[in-house]
């Protein structure tokens, strides 16, 4: 109790110290807490499912010549059956996401339908609130829905036994609800609002037994990781027996492996890196706050020397003093943690809005924050309190009481504080550099030349909805083209941010031998390049007037003779042509037929800025493109008005099919830019707070140090030092560690940012300006932080300063 009283009085007496110390720690703890929640959320996907650690996902990897290795977590439809024929003990299940339309009361509503094997919920143990999911899924017309979906279609009445008409791929089936699942939390990777039996006869496509197709997700269950890895080791032999025989996959180009279900959410290395980085930001910000505590505690040690001496005179042992100071650290950290928790609660809605997250602090339960927070408080108190406790408790009572001077830890104490300031500012400057680079890269991605005009362009995604036949599709396109404001309409099996089918053909230059180069096949409709605003580099574009562009020929004819192709710049290089002009008129062969290159366009970056632009061979197809997207170019309308006009045009032709469209800018943002933009914002918040906490510490140090040096400054001024010279001395002294911090920060930031930018194919250069700018900013901020204190002391009348004790 006396220790707490002593702490309270010490804090109440030195309010500035209390404010800086507790405030800095609270901010550090709040930042750490929020980023800890973020990291736990991102790395905790699927852990809500019982026995999730036993589930593994089959993934396939292509290593195609001339193309970066590509891994995806899918298999062909029938692989599980083939696996189970070879390994009868194997337990597995499958999940395939389908687009379905619920027809109810003249309304058509688009829904995601999870089509799964009947045992799906034996493995993915989502709890049911009503009915039996396994029995329901054994019936081809059984439907499992979530509580949310049940409420959406049946209100407060029970959904069990009720029927929903679902249109899938153009056919409408009556599905009867047999089970209702509890609503699924956000952190589940494979989820849908409704589930039906994965019936091959209903949903199987022509690639069901086509090795290498990425049709659905296959899950396998193993007792433990050792068993999973042992099974994985048998996959090459399994592929030898089954996969390569078909001829479309080659040994050495196609592999399969297993990935834990819990590793699915952070699938790409870029995602994992950013989560690690944000976790590091949280830890380092906390470290900066801890350094503040140590610095301020030792800097003001002199103020408490007399108390320590008196306690020792009165019989206190060093051990009891260490206990007292550690107790004080614990109490201070606990107060700071409570304030930090409150700050985190207040900040979370803003953080969630900026970072696109749904983080929440839960206090009890397995993911409750109380236990981690208690451990955190104990840890910080120990780390932050130990050194000051030993310094403070080490003062000899005789020397302290006899001296008029207060011990300040001597030169070694000053050196340690300077070293710690170097550490703090090294972290802060590295953060500042990283923030600059990340914001610039995010801006670059938003404004970069993608090879086409991204404004004034809509993608109609619902054109590929099953059940829309060719004549209807043609009628839809005519109707869209006639909508007010539309200046062009085209179709293709790709769109910015979307790709319905990805097929590669191995091409070689006609008459040349050697390895084939994989070009992505993109079927394009009329006016494709004009609608997108692509730039022709050489030759010409497809033209309906040229019969040999094959656009007007039938499917059977196109299969016999190779079509003319337009290729992109990357394909020119990949195929080994010296220049676009050199490629013009040349023939390339896909193993069966020759195609003539009639034109070269600049690269169209339709995919993530992280991925390299692939070599593409565009073909012209005005007959029927598989799974097409429509692209609509418009002018003189805003996106909202245009969207409404396109929907009206759509409904005139197919009123029963839900319309789905997005602006290209929105589509690219949602698919590729959003995550990076949101995470950059989270990083920026963390970095700004880290710098702020560093400055709080520097301000505190400056306050204590200048107070200690008032008399010295008086002497210097008496000896003729001007105000400017004193300012230079004081600010210079605090700037030295900040400048030294650059030596640590620059290489760290350089390596980290090289790696981060390395994750983007379309990236900015790592300019020295980021480094110089961040360092200048740090020096300016540090100077401004110290300036107030230094100015006050430097301006004081020397006579008054000399009276100061």
């Amino acid at each position: 109790m006396s220790a707490l009283t002593s702490l309270y009085r010490s804090l109440a007496h030195h309010r500035l110290f209390a404010l800086l110390n507790i405030g800095g720690l609270a901010l550090g703890i709040a930042t750490f807490l929020v980023l800890f929640l973020f990291v736990r959320f991102e790395t905790g996907y699927d852990r809500v499912l019982p026995q999730q650690d036993r589930l593994w996902v089959m993934e396939e990897r292509y290593v195609m010549p001339g193309y970066p290795a590509d891994t995806n977590p899918n298999t062909m439809g029938s692989e599980l059956k083939i696996l189970q024929a070879d390994y009868p003990q194997l337990v597995g299940t499958r999940y395939m996401n389908m687009a379905a339309t619920v027809q109810q009361g003249g309304q058509a509503t688009a829904e995601d339908l999870g089509t799964v094997d009947p045992n799906f919920f034996d493995l993915m143990r989502f709890p049911a609130v009503e009915g039996d999911p396994a029995a329901t899924l054994a019936d081809p017309n059984g439907l499992v829905v979530t509580q949310k979906t049940a409420r959406k279609y049946f209100g407060s009445q029970s959904a069990i036994g009720r029927t929903l008409q679902l249109s899938i791929d153009g056919t409408t089936y009556p599905y009867k609800v047999g089970a209702v699942l509890r609503d699924m939390p956000d952190d589940v990777t494979f989820k849908s609002e409704m589930f039906a039996q994965l019936s091959r006869t209903r949903f199987g496509n022509e690639w069901w037994e086509h090795w290498g197709s990425a049709s659905l997700t296959t899950f396998l269950r193993f007792p433990d990781a050792v068993a999973a890895r042992a099974f994985e080791a048998q996959l090459p032999a399994f592929l030898d027996r089954h996969a390569y025989a078909g001829g479309n996959l080659k040994k050495g180009e196609y592999f399969q492996s297993l990935r834990p279900l819990t590793a699915m959410h952070l699938y790409s290395p870029g995602d994992r890196a950013i989560v690690t980085t944000l976790g590091a930001v949280g830890l380092l910000t906390l470290l900066i706050a801890i350094v503040n505590y140590v610095n301020l505690a030792t800097a003001r040690a002199g103020l408490r020397a007399r108390e320590v001496a008196m306690r020792k005179v009165l019989g206190g042992t060093r051990r009891s003093l260490v206990r007292q100071f550690l107790g004080e650290a614990l109490a201070t950290v606990a107060v700071a943690a409570l304030i930090g928790l409150a700050l985190a609660e207040i900040a979370l809605p803003f953080i969630n809005a900026l970072g696109g997250t749904t983080l929440a602090i839960r206090y009890v339960g397995w993911d409750g924050v109380v236990l981690p927070l208690v451990l955190l408080v104990l840890g910080i108190a120990l780390v932050a309190g130990l050194y000051p406790a030993f310094v403070l408790s080490g003062f000899g009572p005789a020397a302290v009481l006899a001296s008029t001077r207060a011990p300040g830890g001597g030169r070694s104490g000053t050196r340690l504080r300077s070293a710690l300031v170097v550490v703090q500012f090294a972290i802060a400057i590295a953060f500042a550099i990283a923030t600059g680079v990340m914001l610039k890269q995010t801006e670059h991605i938003r404004d970069a030349d993608l090879g086409f005009r991204r404004d004034g362009l809509m993608i109609v995604r619902s054109l590929m909805t099953g059940g829309i036949d060719s004549p209807q599709r043609a009628a839809i396109l005519r109707s869209l083209a006639a909508a007010p404001g539309v200046t062009g309409v085209t179709v293709a099996n790709n769109a910015p941010g979307d790709q319905s089918t990805t097929n590669f053909s191995g091409y070689s230059r006609a008459g040349a031998s050697g390895a084939k180069i994989s070009l992505m096949d993109v079927g394009t409709g009329r006016d494709y390049f004009r609608v997108y605003g692509a730039r022709l580099v050489a030759g010409r574009l497809f033209d309906a007037a040229h019969a040999d562009d094959r656009g007007l020929l039938t499917l059977a004819e196109r299969k016999r003779a190779g079509p003319n192709v337009v290729i992109n710049r990357t394909a020119v290089t990949a195929l080994g042509f010296a220049s676009p002009t050199a490629a013009l008129g040349q023939a390339i062969n896909d193993g069966e037929r020759d195609s003539t290159i009639i034109g070269i366009v600049d690269d169209l970056r339709f995919r993530s800025p992280r991925d390299a632009v692939t070599p593409v061979a565009y073909t012209y197809n005005t007959v029927d493109i598989l799974s097409p997207f429509a692209a609509v170019r418009y002018a003189g309308r805003d996106a909202k008005t245009m969207m409404a006009a396109l929907e009206a045009a759509w409904k005139r032709v197919v009123p029963g099919v839900p319309f789905e469209a997005r602006s290209v800018e929105d589509n690219l943002y949602q698919r590729y830019y959003k995550a990076d933009a949101q995470r950059s914002r989270l990083f920026t918040i963390g970095a700004v707070l880290a710098i702020l906490i560093g400055c709080i510490g520097l301000y505190g140090l400056a306050a204590f140090d200048t107070a200690r040096r008032v008399k010295e400054i008086g002497i210097r001024k008496t000896l003729g030092a001007s105000t400017a010279e004193v300012l230079r001395l004081l600010i210079g002294q605090f700037l030295r560690p900040v400048i030294l911090a650059n030596l640590v920060a620059w290489p760290l930031a350089y390596v980290a940012m090289q790696r981060w930018l390395g994750g983007f194919d379309d990236r900015i250069a790592l300019s020295p300006l980021f480094f110089v700018g961040a360092s200048l900013a740090a020096a300016l901020i540090a100077s401004a932080t110290v300036f107030g204190q230094a100015w006050r002391v430097a301006r004081a009348e020397p006579a008054r300063a000399l009276r100061h004790e």
Binding site: R405, R716, L719, G720, S722, A724, R800, L802
Partner: protein, 226 residues
């Protein structure tokens, strides 16, 4: 050399206003050695601080070599202190973190001159007061007399025209006090003007003139009979 005309200094706090100096008229000629005496709180140190430009008068004129510096800008006063004044304090006012040599060098720190010359001058000043053998020590390792001699070395290293000493022997025993007064006497004999605040009549006797103060006013100013 200096002329104070109707000079006053008041200190105002929230509650009271204290008059430390009230209508001081005083002239000090070059080469003089003036002792200022009076009871505690009579304004001796305030007067010395104002002469030393480390405090400012609230009223009146302060002419230094003919120029009124009572309201001169801070930078000008700093230059004056740097080039023409030397200070010696009762409590020495050495900087604990610096060595004796570094403390003495502080007297030249704000002047522009070749490093070699600075070094020579610092060595000469320390020699002069007999503390050269202690140059690498820190102030707290020295006796009071040695610390005060170091402070004198710092005051004279810049060869000032006017040395201001505020009870330079106040914290010293008799023997060390006598040594310090010897040094000040020699400096005056060599041409330095000295203004010294003291409580000791015997040390005041070493000065050529004694000024008596009471309640912020000058009571008398008497020259010592030659």
């Amino acid at each position: 050399m200096i002329q104070l005309q109707d000079l006053s200094r008041t200190y105002a706090s929230d509650e009271i206003e204290t008059t430390a100096l009230n209508g001081i008229d005083l002239a000090v000629e070059a080469g003089e050695f003036v002792a200022i005496m009076g009871p505690s709180g009579c304004g001796k140190s305030t007067l010395l601080n104002i002469i030393g430009t480390i405090d400012r008068p609230t009223d009146g004129r302060y002419l230094f070599e003919g120029a009124d510096i009572a309201r001169a800008p801070e930078a000008e006063l700093a230059k004056l202190r740097r080039d023409r004044l030397g200070f010696v304090f009762q409590s020495f006012n050495l900087i604990d973190e610096l060595t004796i040599a570094e403390n003495v060098a502080l007297g030249l720190a704000y002047r522009t001159m070749p490093a070699r010359e600075k070094k020579d001058r610092v060595a000469a000043a320390m020699d002069r007061v007999g503390i050269a053998h202690r140059q690498r020590h820190h102030p707290h390792q020295l006796s009071g007399g040695q610390q005060q001699r170091a402070a004198i070395a710092r005051a004279i290293v810049g060869e000032p025209r006017l040395i201001l000493a505020d009870e330079p022997t106040g914290n010293l025993d008799t023997e060390n006090g006598a040594q310090v007064m010897d040094i000040l006497g020699q400096l005056n004999a060599e041409g330095a003007t000295i203004v010294m605040v003291t409580h000791s009549p015997s040390h005041a006797d070493i000065a050529k003139r004694t000024v008596h103060m009471l309640d912020g006013r000058i009571l008398s100013s008497a020259r010592r009979a030659a």
